[in-house]
Amino acid sequence: MAPIQLLGLLIGLLALHITFIYYKKSELEKGDLLIWSFIWVVFIFISLNPNILNSVTQHLNLSRPMDAIMIGAFIVLLAVSFHNYVVNKKNKKNIEKIIKELALRDFDQYK
């Protein structure tokens, strides 16, 4: 086992553990636990068996499985950033709406 594979395994196991702790603290629901656990298990599996990505790398004309992982990770990060941007914008709007309504709640006294 190459050192990077060992590192991947340790990170995957740590992530699984942290995910379970969040579930126990009720910060994640059962569905979240299942999804994220699946993701970390896949991560560990790929770390231990990188050759399963060979067919993917051949189809994408890439020379190494690591390139496929990096590109895939980049795409996932972009998607997550975009999602966060949209959610953040919506939350900001909702927060302002609530704060404004609270501020104007007793405004009739000034009329």
Binding site: I95, E96, I99, L102, A103, L104, F107, Y110
Partner: protein, 221 residues
């Protein structure tokens, strides 16, 4: 009805005197305490002025958001003219009558104030203002002399057309850009330059962000 809208964030030192002076020239003064952690609101309450309408944001949302709340309040009061000014004493209330005169007697739909160029203005601010005004002129063909000056007034009828989306300090620019895009009539009044606190207001980093935002507005507006 003429209403002054004054957003304030931690301005306990000046809010009382600014609002007290402005109240002489307008029918109502709407103060929006934007989540201050000092005695800003208490200074207003202590004045017991019947013209004051104090609104409080429980958290700091930014100048643009505070002005939106103020505008909503002005609408509910039936305001015909709104005068916007800052709470930090940089905008002298004694200029309010001249502003109102321009709107009422010269039939303008807005008045924008511009700060007199004086030696006491920090160099960074002079350069920043020049760069922003120049960029606005190139991108939007707009010729306001001081786009960052928050001392301005509008007839209420134009407000729905210029409602801004920005919640922070860029509101001044966005308001001016939206106003100009509708070709409403306006005039400009020169006011003295006063700087009380060098570490408040738009910083050089904000200025860089603003330049980028103006490019985005050029596409969107």
């Amino acid at each position: 009805m003429i209403v002054a809208i004054i957003p304030a964030y931690n301005e306990e030192l000046t809010i009382g005197s600014v609002c007290g002076q402005v109240a002489q020239y307008v029918d109502r003064v709407i103060i929006i305490d934007d989540g201050s952690i000092d005695r800003t609101s208490q200074e207003i309450i202590d004045q017991h002025n019947s013209k004051f309408c104090l609104l409080r944001h429980q958290i700091n949302l930014g100048k643009g958001a505070a002005l939106r709340t103020g505008y909503e309040a002005a609408k509910r009061l039936g305001a015909e003219i709104v005068v916007l000014l800052d709470a930090d004493g940089q905008h002298l209330p004694e200029y309010v009558p001249y502003i109102i005169d321009e709107l009422k007697n010269k039939d303008k739909q807005a008045v924008f104030c511009f700060r007199k160029k004086e030696k006491k203005m920090p160099v960074v601010r002079v350069l920043g203002n020049f760069l922003i005004n120049k960029t606005a002129s190139v991108l939007f063909k707009i010729d306001l002399r001081d786009m960052l000056c928050g001392f301005r007034a509008f007839k209420m009828e134009v407000m729905p057309y210029i409602i801004w989306r920005d919640s922070g300090y860029f509101v001044e620019i966005e308001m001016a850009l939206r106003f100009k895009s509708k070709n409403f009539s306006y005039s400009e009044i020169e006011i003295p330059t006063i700087y009380n606190n060098r570490f408040k207001g738009v910083t050089s980093v904000d200025g860089l962000k603003l330049l980028l935002q103006m490019i985005i507005w050029r596409i969107k507006l």
